[in-house]
């Protein structure tokens, strides 16, 4: 079993709030068009001013969010940068492909091509922080962020030194992406207001989202926001396997479901993808608060990054905003948060986060 690692800072850019906002989910933003775009911060001060003019929104989001996480932890240069993205820079990719068609594959401009590569955000973060250490971008659809976290945990487990790993994720929506996915019935019809997503869990489809989240992760417990005790990814599993894996993971940490204060569920409003959450909710003890988050960020490959940020903020706030609560539990305080997420039917992830106080 791996040792826990510690999240010493957390930063987010989401449809609800970004790293410059104070408080936690104070003004809930709801959309009616099925697309939850991020609220963008002022990027000035986080990104090289010469380069910023060339950057797409995703690059600006990822770089500024990563730099903000480092600033919050008081770190100028991390020892490693590990990120995950399901789709990378969609805007740059689309721009490059359209340009290829329009110009008949000749005389193509380099910027969108260079920036469309998945690892360009990691490259920029490394350049800006002068970090020449381990640098990795995972592009594994719904497991991308989890793999980045898992890699960070493995890296930190290999050393007793107090190193800082910058871990993050980023994904963006485009109109074309939403249009293409609509052809396979991915989105709700008719579209509900995003704040009411979970009231419509008896129909097919979900809503689209985007965002970026970054964390500084270390071996140092002191002054951490919380610990990350376990990350587990499950592929091609049925509901019974997911529940068994959750119970086994908790048992490995001398816990059971009734010890969980907050069960943070990645249900996305699609009736075809509810089984694990329904069964888990039925098994959860009365102590446990069951909370949802995708009505706040939409569905995207690395939405678990938003949920991890949320978990870290819940430990800090010591209370749960009403908008998250699906069923209130009798727990006192928040010590254990179990995050269960999924990306399309049979790909699930489980994370256990604990308070360090």
């Amino acid at each position: 079993m791996m040792k826990p690692v510690y999240i010493s800072s957390a930063s987010v850019i989401s449809p609800q709030q970004h790293f410059e906002d104070k408080g936690l989910l104070q003004d809930i933003i709801s959309t009616d068009d099925g697309m939850m775009w991020v609220r963008e911060p002022n990027y000035k001060g986080y990104i090289n001013p010469v380069a910023i003019r060339r950057m797409s929104k995703l690059l600006k989001m990822g770089i500024s969010c990563g730099m903000n996480a480092l600033q919050k932890a008081g770190i100028e240069k991390p020892q490693a940068i590990i990120t995950g993205t399901g789709r990378g820079s969609m805007v740059d990719t689309e721009q490059f492909l359209v340009s290829m068609i329009e110009n008949e594959e000749e005389v193509l401009t380099p910027t969108s091509f260079i920036q469309s590569t998945y690892n360009s955000i990691n490259g920029w973060l490394a350049l800006q922080t002068k970090c020449s250490g381990y640098n990795q971008t995972y592009v594994n659809r719904g497991a991308s962020f989890e793999l980045a976290l898992f890699d960070a945990q493995m890296l930190l487990n290999e050393t007793n030194e107090n190193i800082h790993v910058l871990v993050g994720c980023f994904d963006e929506i485009t109109h074309d992406y939403v249009r293409v996915k609509s052809k396979i019935g991915y989105w709700k019809k008719p579209l509900p207001a995003s704040k009411d997503l979970h009231k419509h869990s008896d129909t097919h489809g979900t809503i689209a989202g985007e965002g970026s989240a970054f964390f500084t992760v270390t071996n140092k417990r002191e002054q951490a926001l919380c610990s990350l005790d376990a990350v587990k990814m499950l592929q091609d599993t049925d509901t019974g396997d997911v529940i068994d894996n959750i119970n086994n993971l908790l048992a490995e940490h001398n816990l059971n479901l009734s010890d969980i204060d907050v069960l943070l569920c990645g249900m996305n409003g699609d009736s075809r993808q509810m089984e694990v959450y329904n069964q888990l909710s039925a098994l959860a003890s009365e102590n446990t608060t069951i909370a949802n988050f995708k009505h706040l960020c939409g569905e995207y490959d690395t939405s678990s990054g938003f949920a991890t940020w949320l978990a870290a903020e819940l430990f800090k706030a010591k209370e749960i905003p009403e908008t998250l609560i699906a069923r209130k539990g009798n727990h006192t305080g928040i010590k254990n948060i179990l995050l269960v997420n999924h990306y399309i039917l049979n790909s699930h992830s489980i994370m256990l986060l604990q308070s360090v106080q």
Binding site: R53, N103, L108, T109
Partner: protein, 85 residues
């Protein structure tokens, strides 16, 4: 020539996404790279593509390219002599 320089400045602003700049903000003889507009190597690639797409000019020799891309004035003079479209 003046009209060409103004068009060129507008094209530079658009292709390099120089937000908030107007053609009149760019001095004809100011260096495009370094202390002038502060452009970098990726911008030089964008400018090469601009010349090829809009004026049919393909510069193969890097040293010649460096001279051509010195300023708006040098670019405009080269375009006037070598344009094919």
């Amino acid at each position: 020539m003046e009209e060409l320089k103004n068009t060129l400045k507008q094209q530079i602003i658009e292709s390099l996404n120089l937000e908030g700049m107007k053609p009149s903000d760019i001095d004809d003889n100011a260096p495009l790279f370094g202390e002038g507009l502060g452009l970098d190597s990726i911008d030089s690639l964008e400018l090469m593509v601009l010349l090829e797409r809009n004026y049919g000019i393909k510069i193969e020799d890097a040293r010649e390219g460096r001279k051509v891309l010195e300023s708006v004035q040098s670019m405009a003079e080269y375009i006037q002599q070598h344009r094919t479209i």
